[in-house]
Amino acid sequence: MIKLDNVSKKFMTKYALRDVNLELTNGKIIGLVGENGSGKSTTLKLIAGLIRPSQGMITINGVQAHRQIASQVSYLSELDEYYGFYNVGQTIDFFATQFPDFSRDKAEQIRSFMQLERNAKLKHLSKGNRGRLKIVLTLSRDVPVILMDEPLSGLDPMVRDSIVKSLISFIDLEKQVVLITTHEVREVEMILDEVIAIKDGQIIGHHNVDQLRAEKNMGIVEWMAEAYE
């Protein structure tokens, strides 16, 4: 379980997040939606322990988030920077050595599902294939928390579809919680259990998606349009 308790994050004088309280329970795919600069990435980095809150506390299964929480968290960055001297296979192998919970079998499965060549040079990968590689690296870990920052951003529909399918296929919802940020809600709305909307660093709504549909007869996009007014 991920818990944010009164969390604020300030850069110089500007608040990126303000008094955020969240409780995310296991076994769910949760979407964090909002405009660019609303605080989505900041939230993910805070949970990943890559930045620290100015105020408040973040815990993952009771443990306070810090840099080495990487052992409990698989984080996919919105940047696609990897070590250019490795090829796909070497990158996977390197990750396998760094994370004890990394499953090479699973990585192989996802890699072949994504139709990535093991000996393809990273420098020569298309943006779509780099996006796919990130998915391989992130989902191959047997880890309680998966954080994905804009996994679909800037990718063509074919790639998006393969990524959404791989989420359904390779996430273990018995044990894992997945938090995805996106500003392309339509691509993922069918696979979300919950949706959280964030605006100017503040949470403006947190709902079970099917409940939202049943009670308000609204999809996420309509709800967001309403929430953002």
Binding site: R52, R67, Q68, A70, S71, F85, Y86, Q98
Partner: protein
Amino acid sequence: MSAWWHLTKKELRLGLPAFLLILITFAVILGVVSYIGYRAGFLWEAATIVSVLALGGHIFYLAYYLLYSLEKERKKLHLWLHNPQPGYALLLAKIAAGLITLIVSMLIIGTLLLISFNLAENFHQMEWSHSTQLAVFGILHIMMLSVNIAVYFIFFWMIFLLINRFTNGFFSFILTLIIFLISMSLYGWFMETTVYEALTMWGEINLLNILSGFEFNFSSDAFMAEFDTMPLYLGNYVFEASVTVLLFLAASWLLDRKVEV
């Protein structure tokens, strides 16, 4: 341990260009100077001097290597820092990779030095007793200084990363430089104090005993006088080593707790 070793292998691969650049630069300078020396009839003497200077320059090697490696990493900090290993392990992997290449680099240049020295007839007229001890003494000190300088560098690099969160690269560099200069002048002031003397001036080592018989035919008196006024203390080594360890721990702490992606 295995994870750390694999990380170190990655660091070796990441730092490879830095290592090669030094060897290439050395080869180019050696070529140019040797050619000039050859024209003047002192080919091997020239090569010897270039090699000695290059070896001496290795006191900055590790800092340079880490500059390259850490600067590469700065563009993908999330990749480097999203790792379950503690900060000191991440930094030690880089230092270990740097040390391995430092040794290889010194071996290559040292071998060239030995060859050219043996062929440099002009140097044979001088008496070189205890040259092995001198070499060991020199090499050890180059490596120790290299680590020492590298750790100072890492520490200030962490300061740079902290500042870099708030302002652009250039301004962060300037600020870090100012902080560096201020701390160095404070350190210089501290070295004048009696506290520093008490901390460092114990366990005098008589270099002349170690290098007894180490004599140059020319100006040997002046050289000896130089050694006399600059006595070596065990305390100095212990003190510098402690400062190095403390700075390293501080840098690791900063990396774990303060540096942000």
